[in-house]
């Protein structure tokens, strides 16, 4: 590089951008949080009850379902991006929704991305509750509904930890939001895609600033996670 040390310079400029609350940085950060929090909310809404159903009901192929879910934890984000792109594209089956290249499309995509993770982790969270405890609850004369509710409330922290992990995966991924969102300035540009673009434009300081924010969010999630787990 020609102009001195880009890492040091970039870092100093990045700190300045964050302290000065650069409007571009703030806007991208808010959008990132908005998209990923909304996606996590909807994913939790869908995945937690489904995960609980899988845990509480015995059915054929239950093992296969759980293994499939666990495999899908590692679902590559670009594949979700590709599939959702084909679905949401104007000539695709859901093209009429006009969701491609919108924040709405990104929310749907991230929701799909983390549903398997949340479902799987809900099942494990509930399985983590001691079997003896379950028998005790039943033995104490609890009805089926009461048993279910008690086990869920016992597992709530483990479930919460799963939700936080899902949020972490959603906000940190770049593959699917790039494909489905299109990285439009002022509309669908989020932290990860903005870092990609600004690095390709050699605006390293802005990339570093956004990177610091993304790391802080991840750190925040981790802190929350360890708080929840300590309980």
């Amino acid at each position: 590089m020609v102009n001195g040390n880009p890492i040091v310079e970039g870092f100093i400029e990045a700190i300045e951008l964050i302290i000065a609350l650069d409007p571009q940085v703030v806007e991208i950060t808010i959008r990132s949080l908005y998209v990923s929090l909304t996606a996590t909310f909807f994913a939790a809404l869908i995945a937690l009850p489904l995960g609980a159903l899988i845990y509480f009901y015995e059915f054929r192929g239950k093992h296969a379902v759980v293994s499939t879910l666990q495999t899908l934890y590692a679902l590559p984000t670009v594949i979700v991006g590709l599939v959702m792109f084909l679905f949401l594209s104007n000539i695709g089956p859901f093209g009429f929704l006009r969701l491609l290249y919108t924040p709405g499309g990104m929310i749907v995509t991230q929701t799909v991305l983390i549903i398997p993770l949340l479902m799987g982790l809900t099942v494990s969270a509930l399985s983590g509750i001691d079997r003896d405890k379950r028998y005790t609850i039943t033995a104490l004369g609890a009805s089926r509904l009461q048993t279910v509710m008690t086990i869920i409330s016992e597992a709530r922290f483990a479930v919460m930890a799963g939700v936080l992990l899902g949020f972490g995966r959603a906000i940190a991924e770049v593959g699917s939001v790039m494909i489905v969102g299109g990285n439009i300035r002022g509309a669908t540009r989020v932290l990860t895609t903005a870092i990609t673009l600004n690095t390709s434009m050699a605006n390293y300081s802005l990339s570093i600033a956004l990177g610091i924010i993304l790391l802080s969010v991840a750190l925040g999630v981790n802190l929350a996670l360890s708080l929840v787990q300590r309980r």
Partner: protein, 321 residues
């Protein structure tokens, strides 16, 4: 024990409240940030115009400037999706965007002939340049573009030390131009060039990324002048070959045909094309970059010059709205 449980419950309620608030902000956040709310935007987006465009235009910063001025003048929300020319035209074919802003005459013509593109207008041009390390290991300085490609090919396949060529490799306008140059130099792109050896590197990225990659490897690459100039202060690479009619780089705007895709914002696309071809906008394009880079990055096209070779395009007649 009891206080502990109460604390836990309070904690859960707090987390749920935060989640609920977040759900609440789904309704309010978009307005606050001028983000169009996807679910409530009218189909086709009456005041949103979506433009698939090339990374070379985005990377120069011209698009951000055009967007700022146009949005101030009209209140229309311009949304640029930068993808490289091949993919941009494909977005147009699918009707995912309202118009394309691209630079590959052959692909453009096909897009129009297939009935997907209408009202093409050429806007501006500059030149492609072959940039490379100052030491010029393949010795191509002062050659014509075609001779230079032949010299790079020969030096590369003979494993001359320090000779490498970085290709965009992404079916962009610049990549298409590169293919044309290889063909004119007498090589079959698929058979001779693609697997010609380790000296031929495919980046698979945008123009800025490719320049940075070429700079890291001290390799030759084909770039549009605008992106090179806007990156020059971060690069050691110099323009080695910059002369030759084969290096002409023409940018055009083409609207997506509403007869193929009824949902597109045809009116918005036509208005934007007419604004692009207006004299004031062309003047602005012609001055863009002068302050920062010492020379303009693009030369606007005016009639009748644009209708004559080597341009052969329409640049002045307004698009019917």
């Amino acid at each position: 024990m009891r206080t502990n449980t109460t604390l836990l419950t309070a904690g859960i309620i707090a987390v749920l409240l935060i989640l609920a608030l977040c759900a609440g902000c789904t309704g309010t956040a978009p307005d606050g940030n001028a983000t169009p709310n996807a679910t409530t935007a009218p189909p086709g987006g009456a005041n949103v115009v979506r433009i698939a465009t090339t990374t070379s235009l985005e990377n120069t910063g011209l698009l951000a400037e055009l967007e700022r001025v146009y949005e101030n003048e009209t209140g229309v929300d311009l949304q640029f999706i930068s993808q490289g020319t091949g993919q941009s035209i494909d977005s147009g074919r699918r009707g995912d965007v309202d118009l394309v802003l691209v630079h590959a005459p052959d692909l453009e013509q096909q897009f129009i002939d297939d009935g997907f593109g209408i009202n093409p207008r050429c806007i501006a041009y500059n030149y492609f340049i072959i940039v490379g390390p100052e030491s010029d290991p393949a010795g191509i300085a002062n050659m014509s573009p075609v001779e230079a490609f032949q010299a790079i090919y020969t030096a590369g396949t003979n494993q001359t030390a320090g000779v490498a060529f970085v290709s965009r490799g992404d079916n962009s306008g610049t990549h298409n131009q590169e293919k044309v140059l290889w063909e004119e130099a007498g090589y079959d792109y698929e058979a001779d060039v693609l697997d010609a050896g380790a000296w031929y590197v495919e980046a698979g990225k945008g123009m800025g990324d490719t320049l940075i990659l070429a700079n890291e490897q001290q390799a030759y690459t084909l770039s549009d002048e605008g992106t090179y100039l806007s990156f020059a202060d971060r690069l050691d690479l110099v323009p080695v070959v910059a002369e030759g009619a084969e290096l002409l780089n023409r940018y055009s705007a083409i609207a997506v045909n509403p007869e193929q895709h009824a949902e597109v914002n045809a009116e918005g696309a036509a208005d934007f094309i007419n604004w692009l071809t207006s004299d004031e906008t062309k003047e602005m394009i012609g001055e863009f970059g002068t302050e920062e880079f010492g020379k303009p990055l693009f030369t606007p096209l005016y009639a009748p010059e644009c209708t004559e070779p080597p341009f052969n395009c329409t640049c002045a007649e307004p698009v019917p709205t």
